[in-house]
């Protein structure tokens, strides 16, 4: 049981044009920076990317958009990215916007063997167009289907050689559900350790969901909105 790959280049072996990928992260928090750089380097095209956001113009998924590598985005919120907006409005980029909770649950369902589920989110809006509707407990719900991906790229704080993962702070976000839904899940971690080092009681993603893991490098961890209080408030 050794899932360790030397680096992003080796861990992404098998990715190809026209594939569907999931990428963890919320804004720029908890994004698989190394995997994204490797996808840019490989120059594969026609990608369908499932990710809550689309990065900013010059970081995160914005780097793949700049190179026109993405054919379709499945996201819940895509503000903060002018190039994205331009490509979408000009019709170069296909975009499927779905409610954030439905996006998370569709990934979770995909990994959990649940093909579809009913949710109230989006009922009566554009999101419900063409979808099956049913009443439960007197309330209307719409049918949402599960999502899976050829590869899921996730980023964790610590991981071991069996693929067990622990995330830091709010960098967890979509990473655990996407780890579950990838046919091949590639985890990049800030700290790769031997089995037994991580406390089993505190594992967030059990190793069974992870096929490949590598020690990431050069994390930039950009902050989108740096909001602070002046130190003089400190008591």
């Amino acid at each position: 049981m050794n899932k360790v790959y030397k680096n992003a280049a080796e861990a992404l072996e098998g990715v190809n044009s026209d594939m569907t990928f999931m990428l963890g992260g919320f804004g720029l928090c908890g994004i698989p920076e190394n995997a994204i750089s490797e996808l840019v380097r490989r120059g594969i095209k026609g990608l369908t990317c499932i990710s809550n956001n689309a990065g900013v113009d010059d970081f995160g998924l914005g780097l793949l958009l700049q190179k026109r590598q993405i054919k379709k985005m499945i996201s819940s919120y895509v503000g903060e990215n002018d190039e994205f907006e331009r490509q979408m409005l000009s019709g170069e980029l296909e975009v499927d916007l779905i409610p954030q909770g439905s996006l998370a649950e569709r990934c979770r369902a995909g990994g959990a063997g649940i093909p579809a589920f009913f949710t109230p989110a989006g009922y009566g809006t554009e999101v419900s167009e063409g979808k099956e509707m049913r009443y439960f407990n007197g309330k209307p719900h719409i049918l949402e289907t599960a999502l899976t991906a050829d590869f899921a790229f996730v980023k964790a704080w610590k991981g071991d050689k069996y693929g067990n993962l622990i995330y830091k702070g709010t960098a967890r976000n979509f990473n655990p559900v996407m780890a579950m839904a990838g046919k091949i899940t590639v985890a990049e971690v800030e700290e790769l350790v031997e089995p037994g080092v991580l406390d089993p009681y505190f594992i967030h993603t059990p190793g069974v969901f992870v096929q490949r893991i590598f020690q990431g490098t050069n994390y930039e961890k950009r902050i989108e909105q740096r909001t602070v209080r002046p130190k003089k408030d400190a008591k």
């Binding site: 919320f26 804004g27 720029l28 928090c29 908890g30 809550n52 996201s75 819940s76 919120y77 895509v78 503000g79 903060e80 907006e85 979408m88 409005l89 975009v95 916007l97 409610p99 954030q100 909770g101 439905s102 996006l103 998370a104 649950e105 990934c107 979770r108 949710t119 109230p120 989110a121 989006g122 009922y123 009566g124 809006t125 554009e126 999101v127 704080w157 830091k168 702070g169 709010t170 960098a171 967890r172 976000n173 979509f174 990473n175 655990p176 559900v177 967030h204 961890k221 950009r222 902050i223 989108e224 909105q225 740096r226 909001t227 602070v228 209080r229 002046p230 130190k231 408030d233 400190a234």
Partner: protein
């Protein structure tokens, strides 16, 4: 007439001890600054925080600790962090007692539009559709009219809606209104604002029952 901070201050009066509350981006975020001293509420951020605290001190910001507006934040003692599906289980499963969010339009039936202007603004709905579809108590914080002076409290929304029949209360720069039985019911006026002024700025059905008190801030 209220400014944005005063709208937030008025909404904070709706908070009750022990509530879990989700605040949207914009005016709703300011509500956290006016929590009464004698109650304890926990703020949820849908990217995965329960017990969100204030912004960090300069130099202590952490890229791995942000709120749903992508701002750096801190955790209060007793906070927890979790993944997105757990976060929306809290929301969809109605474990959150109050949701406060902004809007571009609200209808007299409680429909809300706040995610899209066709051909212009295409940012996406984020978590707003999940929030409005499930929350039992939704307060909208917004200006009563838009920049060109047109009412944002309408008979029917003209923009693509985020959710149907979901808003329970609206707090604007002019008034506090409750939505029920297909109409806006005027509860309070902003200091110095007349009922006539509110009538003139409200396109949807407006019910004015008797003497309308002025807000106490």
């Amino acid at each position: 007439m209220l400014n944005k901070n005063q709208i937030a201050q008025r909404i904070a009066q709706e908070l009750r001890d022990g509530w879990y509350v989700n605040l949207g981006i914009g005016i709703p975020t300011l509500v956290a600054n006016y929590v009464p001293d004698d109650i304890n509420v926990e703020f949820q951020s849908e990217n995965g925080i329960l017990g969100m605290g204030p912004f960090p001190y300069e130099g202590e910001e952490d890229a791995d600790m942000i709120n749903a507006g992508k701002q750096t934040v801190t955790l209060k003692p007793g906070a927890s962090v979790f993944d997105s599906s757990t976060s929306f289980a809290m929301i969809r499963g109605q474990h959150i007692q109050l949701t406060v969010l902004g809007a571009m339009e609200v209808s007299q039936d409680g429909d809300i539009a706040n995610w899209k202007i066709p051909g212009k603004m295409v940012k996406g709905m984020g978590g707003a559709m999940d929030l409005v579809a499930s929350a039992e108590n939704i307060i909208v914080a917004m200006m009563h009219t838009n920049r060109s002076g047109a009412s944002k409290l309408l008979k029917a929304c003209t923009l693509p809606i985020t959710g149907v029949k979901c808003v329970s209360k609206v707090v604007t720069n002019l008034a506090v209104l409750e939505i029920k039985d297909g109409a806006f019911h005027l509860l309070e006026r902003a200091p110095g604002v007349s009922v006539e002024e509110i009538k003139g700025s409200t396109e949807g059905a407006l019910i004015v029952g008797g003497e309308i008190p002025e807000m106490q801030l």
